[in-house]
C-alpha cells in the first residue's frame, strides 16, 4: 500500500502533465517509498517494469 504524501499526489494530479507521466511519477514515488522502508538499494527492475508499461511504445526483442 502506497502512502505517498497527499500533497505530492494532489500536485501531480492537478498538473497539466500527460496521464502516463502522472502515472509514472506516482508509481516511481511508491517504489521509492517502499524501497526506503525496505532499505532496498535495487531499483532498476522496478523502474524498467513501469517504464515499459507507461512509455507508450512496444519494446522490441533484444538482440541475442
Amino acid at each position: 500500500m502506497s502512502n505517498v504524501n497527499r500533497r505530492i499526489l494532489k500536485t501531480i494530479e492537478e498538473s497539466k502533465f500527460e496521464e502516463n507521466i502522472k502515472e509514472l511519477l506516482k508509481t516511481l514515488l511508491a517504489i521509492e517509498l517502499r524501497n526506503m522502508a525496505d532499505k532496498a538499494i535495487r531499483y532498476a527492475e522496478d523502474y524498467d517494469r513501469s517504464l515499459r508499461r507507461l512509455a507508450g511504445v512496444t519494446e522490441e526483442q533484444e538482440d541475442k
Binding site: N3, V4, R7, T11, A44, A55, G56, V57, E60, D63
Partner: protein, 663 residues
C-alpha cells in the same frame, strides 16, 4: 488519524495503564500531567516502541534500566514476564486501527534479563466494514505502520518541547531544508530523479552502443538492386546482339559452304570441323585446369606447413627412440602404488623408516618420468597422422608436372587448330570471287562481334553474380540492423520518456518546495507573532531560499540571535507546528513539556492561541504541574477534553506509575 487509546502493560513504570485520548472535535486536547521523572516521556517512548520497536525519546537515566516493569519482574514467580503496548487509532474514515507489540523477558538466576526473541510480536488490525479485517504480522504489520507514520519523520509529530529552544541553534538551514524534504517526502523526488536519470543514461548508452546502420544499408541495397536490374537489361541486350551476330555469322558461313565454288565449300566444312574440335579442346583445358586447382587446394596447406610437420615428427620419433614414449609405467599406476604405500615387489614405501623412504623416492622418480604417459597415446597417434599427411604429397610434384604437360599439349593442339582456322579464313578472304570475299568479310566481322559480345556477356554475368552475392549479404546484414534499429528506436523513445519524467518530477518538486516554504513561512510567522508576548517587537519570520530562518525585528535587523530561550522555543514550536500542518500526514501531535522554559504570561498566550492554530489536529500535551498553571488551564479550558495526572508510587524494586483521569 487520531489516538483512541494507549495501553501499557509492564512497560517501564506502567504496570497496566490505559489512557483514553480526547477525540471530541472541539475538545481534542489531552493533558497528561506529571512531575519530572514521573513517566511523561515514557508515554511517548511507549508509543514509539509500539510503532517502531524503539524508544526514540529515551532519557539517559532510563537507558540502562530494563524496559519491562521492574516491580512486576521482582514480584512475579514466573520465569517469563510479558510486556505489551497497544495503541488504537481512529482513522480519517472512522475505522479503528489497532497496533499491538508484545515481547517476553526471561529472568536469569543472577537477575539478568534476556529478551525471548521468538516471542516478540507485532500485530496490526484494521476495522473493516462489519468486523475486523485479517491481522497483519511482523514485517507486513511494520510496513503498514511505516506507511501511516514514516519513522524518519516521527520526530516532527512526537517531540520534546524542552529541547525546542535549541532547535535553531542545532539545526542549520540545510538541516531545516532536510526536515522539510523529509516531512513532505520531497526526498523521494531526489531519489526518483537520481534513479530515473541513471536509467535514462543507461538507455542512452545502450542505444549509442547499438549504432544501427540500417538506413545506410538500405541505401546500398537499393542501389545494388537497381544496378542489378540495369545489368539484367544490359545482359539481355548483349545476348540479343550476340544471337544476332551468331545468326549472321552462321548465315554467311552457310552461304560459303553452299557456294558454287567447291574449293570454298570444302574449306568452309574444314573450318567448321576445326571449330568444333577447338571447342572440344577448350572444354578439356577447362577440366584439366579445375583438376590442377583441386590438387593445389588439397596440397598447399600441407606444403606450407611441411617444415613444422617434419620437425614435430622428428621430435616425437626421437622421444620414442629414447624410450620416453610410451613410458614403461602409467602415472596412475605409480600414483596408486604411492598411495597404497606398497611397491610392486611388495616392499614398504610409506616413509616410516629410512629404507622405505629411500624406496619411495625411487618410485617417485618413476612418477616424474611417466609425466608424458597420459599424452603418449595421443602423440603416437598424431605421429602416424603426420606421417600420412607428409606421404600424401609425395606424388604432388609429379602430378603437377603431369597436369602441366597435358595442359600444354592441349593448348598447343588448340593453338594449331586455331592457326589453321585463321589460315582458312585468310584463304577464303583472298578468293578471286567477289561475293565469296564479301561473304567471308561479313562472316568474319560477325564472328569477331560475337566473340567480343561473348566476352562482354561473361564480364556482365560475373558482375551480376558479384552483385547478387552483395545483395544477399546486404539483406542479411539489413535484417540484423533492422532488429537493432527497432531496439534503438525503443530505447530512444524510453529515454525521451525518462527525460520528460525527470523534468516533470523536478517541476513538481520545485512547485511543492516553493509552496511549502511559503506556507511554512506564513504559518510560522503568523503563529510566532500571535504567541509571542512582545507583540510590537517583531515583524515576521522569514525563510530564505536556503531555508535559513530569520526573525525580523521592527527595526529591520535580524532578531533570531537576540531571542530569549522562551522566545526561541515559541519560534521553534511555531515552525514545528507549521511543518506539521503542511506535511500532508494525518498524524496526531504529542508534545512533551512544551511550556517548561516559558514564563507564565507567554505560556498563557501560547495556551490561548495553540488550539486555534492547530485546529482540527488532535494534540496531547505532557506537562508538569508548573506548566499546567491555572492561567494555562484557563486559557486551554475550551479545548481540553481530558486531563490525566500521573501518580507515582515508590516501590522497593522501582517506581510504579498510574494515570488518573481528573477531568
Amino acid at each position: 488519524m487520531e489516538f483512541d487509546y494507549l495501553r501499557m502493560k509492564n512497560f517501564r513504570q506502567y504496570r497496566d495503564t490505559q489512557i483514553d485520548f480526547s477525540r471530541s472535535p472541539s475538545k481534542n486536547i489531552t493533558i497528561i500531567q506529571g512531575a519530572n521523572g514521573a513517566g511523561k516521556t515514557n508515554i511517548m517512548n511507549a508509543i514509539t516502541w509500539c510503532l517502531f520497536g524503539k524508544e526514540l525519546h529515551i532519557d539517559s537515566k532510563y537507558a540502562g534500566l530494563p524496559i519491562v516493569n521492574t516491580t512486576t519482574l521482582a514480584e512475579s514467580k514466573d520465569e517469563i514476564c510479558e510486556m505489551a503496548v497497544e495503541i488504537q487509532f481512529i482513522q480519517s474514515n472512522g475505522k479503528k486501527l489497532l497496533v499491538n507489540r508484545t515481547c517476553q523477558y526471561k529472568k536469569g538466576k543472577n537477575g539478568n534479563l534476556t529478551e525471548i526473541r521468538s516471542a516478540h510480536s507485532l500485530t496490526v488490525m484494521s476495522e473493516a466494514e462489519r468486523d475486523w479485517g485479517y491481522p497483519l504480522y511482523s514485517d507486513e504489520a511494520q510496513y503498514r505502520i511505516d506507511n501511516l507514520i514514516p519513522p524518519s519523520i516521527e520526530e516532527y509529530f512526537f517531540f520534546d518541547g524542552e529541547r525546542m529552544d535549541h532547535y535553531f541553534k542545532e539545526n542549520t538551514g540545510r538541516d531545516i531544508k532536510d526536515a522539510v524534504f523529509k516531512i513532505s517526502q520531497l526526498e523521494l523526488f531526489e531519489r526518483l530523479i537520481d534513479h530515473l536519470s541513471a536509467r535514462r543514461n543507461d538507455f542512452l548508452r545502450t542505444a549509442k552502443g547499438l549504432n544501427p546502420k540500417a538506413s545506410e544499408l538500405r541505401d546500398m541495397l537499393e542501389l545494388q538492386t537497381r544496378s542489378l536490374e540495369t545489368d539484367k537489361v544490359e545482359l539481355q541486350e548483349l545476348t540479343d546482339h550476340k544471337n544476332e551476330a551468331e545468326r549472321l555469322e552462321r548465315e554467311f558461313s552457310e552461304k560459303l559452304k553452299n557456294s558454287s565454288a567447291e574449293h570454298i565449300q570444302s574449306l568452309g566444312e574444314l573450318r567448321d570441323n576445326l571449330g568444333s574440335e577447338v571447342e572440344h579442346l577448350k572444354n578439356e583445358i577447362e577440366e584439366i585446369e579445375e583438376e590442377r586447382l583441386g590438387l593445389l587446394h588439397h596440397n598447399m596447406p600441407i606444403i606450407f606447413s611441411f617444415e613444422a610437420l617434419a620437425k614435430t615428427k622428428a621430435m616425437i620419433d626421437s622421444r620414442r627412440e629414447a624410450g620416453m614414449i610410451p613410458p614403461p609405467y602409467r602415472t596412475i599406476f605409480i600414483s596408486n602404488l604411492l598411495k597404497k604405500g606398497k611397491c610392486l615387489c611388495g616392499s614398504d614405501i610409506t616413509t616410516k623408516d629410512e629404507y622405505s623412504a629411500e624406496r619411495r623416492k625411487k618410485v617417485e622418480l618413476y612418477l616424474e618420468e611417466s609425466a608424458l604417459s597420459d599424452m603418449s597415446n595421443d602423440l603416437i597417434e598424431s605421429n602416424a597422422h603426420i606421417q600420412r599427411l607428409m606421404e600424401s604429397i609425395t606424388d604432388f610434384p609429379e602430378e603437377v608436372v603431369r597436369i602441366g604437360k597435358k595442359l600444354k599439349s592441349l593448348q598447343d593442339s588448340k593453338n594449331t587448330k586455331e592457326e589453321k582456322i585463321e589460315k582458312i579464313s585468310q584463304e577464303i578472304k583472298e578468293s578471286n570471287l567477289e561475293n565469296i570475299k564479301i561473304w567471308e568479310e561479313e562472316r568474319s566481322k560477325h564472328e569477331h562481334e560475337m566473340k567480343y559480345l561473348e566476352d562482354k556477356i561473361a564480364v556482365k554475368r560475373n558482375q551480376m553474380e558479384r552483385r547478387g552475392n552483395m545483395i544477399r549479404a546486404y539483406r542479411s546484414e539489413l535484417k540484423k540492423e533492422l532488429e537493432k534499429e527497432k531496439r534503438h528506436k525503443w530505447l530512444l523513445e524510453v529515454e525521451a520518456f525518462c527525460d520528460k519524467g525527470i523534468k516533470c518530477a523536478e517541476e513538481v518538486r520545485d512547485t511543492i518546495m516553493e509552496s511549502m516554504k511559503k506556507e511554512i513561512e506564513e504559518k510560522t510567522s503568523r503563529q510566532f507573532l500571535s504567541l509571542i508576548w512582545k507583540k510590537e517587537t517583531y515583524n515576521a519570520v522569514k525563510i530564505d531560499k536556503d531555508y535559513n530562518i530569520s526573525v525580523q525585528h521592527v527595526s529591520g535587523m535580524e532578531g533570531l540571535g537576540t531571542l530569549s530561550a522562551g522566545e526561541r522555543e515559541v519560534c521553534a514550536l511555531s515552525f514545528m507546528a507549521a511543518l506539521n500542518s503542511v506535511s500532508g500526514f494525518e498524524v496526531p501531535l504529542l508534545v512533551d513539556t512544551p511550556l517548561a522554559r516559558i514564563s507564565t504570561e507567554p505560556s498563557r498566550s501560547i495556551a490561548e492561541n495553540l488550539p486555534n492554530y492547530l485546529k482540527g489536529k488532535q494534540l496531547t500535551l505532557l506537562v508538569t504541574e508548573k506548566e499546567f498553571s491555572s492561567e494555562v488551564q484557563e486559557a486551554l479550558s475550551g479545548a481540553v477534553g481530558k486531563v490525566y495526572v500521573i501518580n507515582v508510587e515508590e516501590k522497593e524494586h522501582g517506581n510504579l506509575a498510574e494515570v488518573e483521569l481528573v477531568k
